[in-house]
Amino acid sequence: MATENKTAKLTDLEQFRLDNGLALKEEPQLTTLNLGPTHPATHGIFQNILQMDGEKIVDAVPTIGYIHRAFEKIAERRPFYQITPLTDRMNYCSSPINNMGYHMTVEKLLGITVPKRAQYIRVIMMELARISDHLICNSILGVDSGAFTGFLYVMQEREHIYDIYEEVCGARLTTNMGRIGGMERDLSPKALHLIDEFLKRFPKVWAEFEKMLTRNRIFIDRTTDVGAISAERALSYGFTGPNLRATGVDYDVRVMNPYSSYEDFEFEIPVGSKGDTYDRFLVRNEEVWQSLKIIEQAYKNLPEGSYHADAPHYYLPPKQEVYRNMEALIYHFKIVMGEIDAPVGEVYHSVEGGNGELGFYLISDGGRTPYRLHFRRPCFIYYQAYTEMIKGGQLADAILTLSSLNVIAGELDA
């Protein structure tokens, strides 16, 4: 009798399962989904093996190292100048910051003081790089949530930033900009003109881009509470940069340990409150405005003077001097052949990179190459939090979280 009652309550599906000899209650079945290594939505080579319960992510196992190029090992064999191109290829969205961070580290080791004008030019270039980095990150976030227009619109501005790079150093993406001791050349009238044009044109573009997304209902719904992380967890995970500031911690290397005359400029450090994707978007947006403010100040107050330090042992002499002057010829030869020995020392220098504290730990044993050069790469350090951030969320949200973290494969794998 009891059995009959129970059978009467069965649904069609349960009856079907009973008839076919299946267990009445379904065991939760997980799907394994391979996201990456090459996937159009990951913007770089990352693999994540996801365990999915329907649309929900239960677990993720990241695999990294697909573009590992052993920069730390290569750096142990190269003279100091030849390491700058390696740093380009770390965070290739903002390579001038990497170049100058590395140059400043070597200057710290050598005890070179860089003149004010060179420092200001560096600040202009680094802030342009920060704008181009944040611009990519935020516009890609728009693409991943379904708004393609803004991306193409601001991408044009990145081209203009690259035009400035081109005028200053000759290259666009992997810039190899500057020298140990300053810049390789002064800002040309054309470069100044391009910066001026950029400062006039860009605020309108960025305001329009912001208008498209910041108060956009769809965008807010897609990004609020997605990939959130608390300030305590973020600090434990070693977050720095915009991703840490989005959680509400106002740590910025530019303010805490000013380098390259950042103490001369007035700017604010935007912070978020929840540490979710929307907060990271807003923090980066505001940082672009602050960067613009810094560039404006540096451009207006650009000091007169030399664009490089007086350090003939390390700074390449001008080419026309090399042909006429014996000392210049000797220095040129020694620098190019990498025959200059650096002093014994151990330095750590960090700059505020596009994604956080980009640190260089350099040990010199007095030879022509570093004994050990360790890069503190912010992407490598915070990407390990990704698993924790996407657990329990949807697959589509995981993609947005990845874009908003701005993980750059080159920096991740070095």
Binding site: I64, G65, H68, A70, E72, K73, I74, E76, R77, K108, R233, L235, S236, Y237, G238, V249, Y251, M256, N257, G345, E346, V347, Y348, S350, E357, G359, Y361, I363, R372, H374, R376, F380, I381, Y382, Y383, Q384, A385, E388, D413, A414
Partner: protein, 168 residues
């Protein structure tokens, strides 16, 4: 309390004793101290939890190899930062290459997970208690730890490269 190299060193030594903390020097404004494997975990925990110091941010850690230095051949460097006081400190632990074993700090810092995996991958450090000590950037099949100084930049055992293509 304003943190200076002197008073931080004084506090650490009074906590752990001179036999466990030695060789304090300041190469670039950041105080560098040396400790042993038995103390490192407690020291990192102490720096994090002490109310006066609050040196609670693990900035980075990396391995260094000094071939032919005997008991000081392998070095593990930890760099910590007090965001509260803007004070940085560097801690080094030396050990022989035959026994590069030290305790993990993954229970204190989530970020130590990949940093320690990187140190294992490139230098062969063994972190006891690490949840998943596997290679991270190199391939699993690799049989050596490539950042050790005895390995030249290019793998000399490779036979698939034809010298004439590379101008040799």
């Amino acid at each position: 309390m304003e943190l200076t190299n002197e008073n931080v060193l004084g506090k650490i030594i009074s906590q752990f004793g001179e036999e466990n903390i030695w060789d304090a020097y300041t190469p670039d404004g950041i105080m560098t101290i040396t400790t042993n494997r038995e103390t490192i975990h407690e020291l990192i925990k102490y720096l994090r939890d002490d109310k006066e110091l609050q040196i609670s941010f693990l900035t980075t850690m990396c391995g260094i190899h000094y071939p032919g230095k005997g008991d000081k051949e392998m070095c593990m460097m930890y760099q910590k930062h007090s965001l509260r006081h803007n004070y940085r400190i560097r801690i080094k632990v030396f050990m022989p290459a035959s026994d590069p074993v030290m305790p993990t700090v993954t229970d204190l810092y989530a970020t130590a997970n990949w940093m320690e995996r990187e140190a294992f991958d490139f230098y062969g450090f063994i972190f006891t208690g690490h949840p998943n000590l596997t290679r991270i950037l190199n391939i699993e099949e690799m049989e050596y730890h490539p950042m050790l100084k005895q390995y030249p930049l290019e793998d000399q055992t490779r036979e698939d490269k034809i010298n004439t293509y590379f101008g040799r």
